[in-house]
């Protein structure tokens, strides 16, 4: 029967044959004429309705036999595939989607052939390699309840998918900016308040000192007071830098990163016991120099600042990897225990108390945010020499177009 179908594919033919069989059965039962003409017309009308429906929908419609060969294909499919109706009939489905995709989808066909209705989303259908489609396979049963083939429908949902992805990206951006806001509220209530509280305490002590209770400590307390106001100032500056990270990027221009690192090293003005050097030649490429400089300055600055001494080396290097560079800043300092891998990149997080090492705890948060804006990643590893840490970050060779979208999302989030 399958062979006949392949040779004479008209669905009408198939239907008529089924009708003939039914007719024969009825004749045997009733022993007379059963109005075959009326039935034939009814089948024709039903066939006509099916055709109108099959050609009217914007989806790819196929009827596949048990061997997954095309028994019927609608115009939408034929146009997409660029085939004539004659060429399509009898073609195995693997020739439509390609062997690789066929292997991926075989499980779904098999399930449908066992009588299950299957649906899934995937890229690639006839004539559209990258389009995103919703597929559904519905088994078709013969009178005895056996699956005689699969009715396959592919709906192009590329546009819906694109919008969905955009929405998801925007939602992720909103969630991130909300989290930022929450974190900001938290740190504002603690980290910014802490120096303010200290200032108030110190003023109280100084006043008492001046009133003659504890005159000895007035000088010391004034020193602490100055330190705390400076700390508060620094926290506010860095918080502002963080909120702007990756936003005010300035112009896109050819940047010699080798010269940029040399400049940063000079500006940082490290003590003579610490040397900053470059391994090899750093690349020259078109980028936004300001955020890149900020990231390098913070990482190299951290390596210098947190070095326990007495002598130290900071080495900057760069490696090309596909569409981005991976910059590395390596030090031979104390190292960072791996359990702090997440926390070091959060706002206002320090590994030592600010009384031990003065710092806002914003440096790496700014680095993280700037690199993320670049669709890159920043992380650290133990230095290969066994002592110290190497911070690595990815920097795109070409500025991502998507950056403008994200900036827009940021604006919308405000």
């Amino acid at each position: 029967m399958t062979d006949t179908n392949r040779a004479r594919p008209e669905t009408l033919e198939t239907a008529l044959r089924a009708l003939e069989e039914a007719e024969a059965k009825l004749r045997a039962r009733d022993g007379g004429d059963t109005g075959i003409t009326r039935l034939a017309e009814s089948v024709k009308r039903s066939e006509e309705r099916f055709r109108m429906l099959a050609e009217g929908v914007p989806n790819h419609l196929l009827f596949l036999d048990r061997e997954l060969r095309i028994e019927f294909a609608n115009d939408v499919f034929l146009q997409a595939a660029g085939w004539s109706a004659d060429k399509a009939i009898g073609v195995h489905i693997s020739e439509v989607v390609g062997v690789e995709r066929f292997m991926e989808r075989q499980q779904y066909y098999q399930r449908a052939l066992k009588g299950e209705t299957v649906a899934y989303d995937s890229t690639g259908a006839a004539g559209s390699e990258h389009g995103y489609f919703h597929f559904s396979y519905r088994p078709s049963f013969d009178e005895s309840g056996k699956v005689r083939g699969i009715f396959s429908m592919a709906t192009d949902i590329s546009e819906r998918r694109k919008i969905q992805l955009e929405l998801e990206a925007k939602q992720a951006e909103l969630l991130r900016s909300n989290k930022d806001l929450e974190q900001f509220a938290y740190v504002a209530s603690h980290d910014l308040k802490a120096p303010l509280r200290a200032i108030e305490l110190l003023v109280q002590w100084i006043t008492e000192g001046l009133n003659g209770y504890d005159t000895n400590n007035v000088q010391e307390n004034l020193g602490l007071l100055t330190k705390r106001t400076q700390r508060l100032n620094r926290l506010l500056d860095d918080l502002l830098a963080y909120s702007r990270a990756g936003r005010k990027v300035g112009a896109h221009r050819m940047t010699d990163t080798h010269a940029l690192v040399l400049d940063v090293a000079q500006m940082l003005n490290p003590p003579p016991s610490i040397t900053i050097s470059i391994q090899g030649q750093l690349p020259k490429f078109a980028t936004h120099p300001a955020p890149l400089e900020q990231v390098l300055r913070n990482l190299i600055g951290n390596a210098v600042k947190h070095h326990p001494g007495p002598e130290g080396c900071v080495v900057v290097s760069c490696e090309e990897q596909g569409d981005h560079y991976v910059f590395a800043v390596e030090d031979d300092g104390e190292g960072i225990p791996p359990q702090y891998a997440e926390r070091v990149f959060e706002m206002f997080q320090t590994l030592k108390s600010r009384d031990q090492v003065e710092g806002s705890g914003m440096g790496l948060a700014i680095v993280n945010r700037t690199v993320q804006w670049q669709r890159g990643r920043v992380w650290f590893e133990p230095a290969p020499g066994g002592r110290g840490t190497v911070f690595k970050f990815q920097w795109k060779k070409h500025q991502p177009q998507a950056a403008s979208v994200e900036t827009k999302a940021c604006e919308a989030a405000k």
Binding site: A198, E200, L201, W205, T350, S353
Partner: protein
């Protein structure tokens, strides 16, 4: 009979001025308990081993390396120190911090609000607390 031993106080605080303020509050209220200071949760955890019992812990929440909540969790999860009496003394007025601290069975969550006096009230409370309340474990 209540313990005759004096309670040692472990203060976990990363801000040296707050430490100073607390010492000052101790002095002012003439609380003479031995006081040891840890600068964050990691240091406090290490100090617990040599801390003479009975002891009482006052911890800040927001600290480098291991914060107060993490320290509390570590204490509650440990076989040895889970019975510790811990007070939180912090600037964090955050609901989440309060809930987390009480879920980890702090004896009290106190805010560093107004300067000076909030510390004095906290220390006065703790001074009364150890004098009235029975501590777990052998004397």
């Amino acid at each position: 009979m209540r313990s005759s031993k004096v309670v040692t106080i472990l203060l976990v605080e990363d801000d040296e001025i707050d430490v100073k303020a607390l010492r000052w509050a101790f002095e002012k209220l003439k609380v003479a308990n031995p006081l040891v200071v840890a600068r964050d949760g990691v240091e406090a955890w290490e100090m617990l081993r040599d801390l003479p019992r009975p002891y009482l812990i006052i911890t800040d929440i927001n600290m480098p390396r291991m914060n107060g909540i993490e320290l509390l969790r570590k204490i509650r999860e440990s076989e040895e120190y889970r019975d510790s009496i811990v007070f939180a003394l912090t600037t964090s007025n955050d609901e989440e911090d309060k809930i987390a601290a009480y879920n980890l069975n702090v004896a009290g969550y106190m805010l560093k609000t107004d300067m000076g006096t909030s510390f004095q009230r906290a220390i006065a409370l703790i001074d009364n607390y150890w004098k009235v309340v029975e501590f777990p474990g052998p004397d």
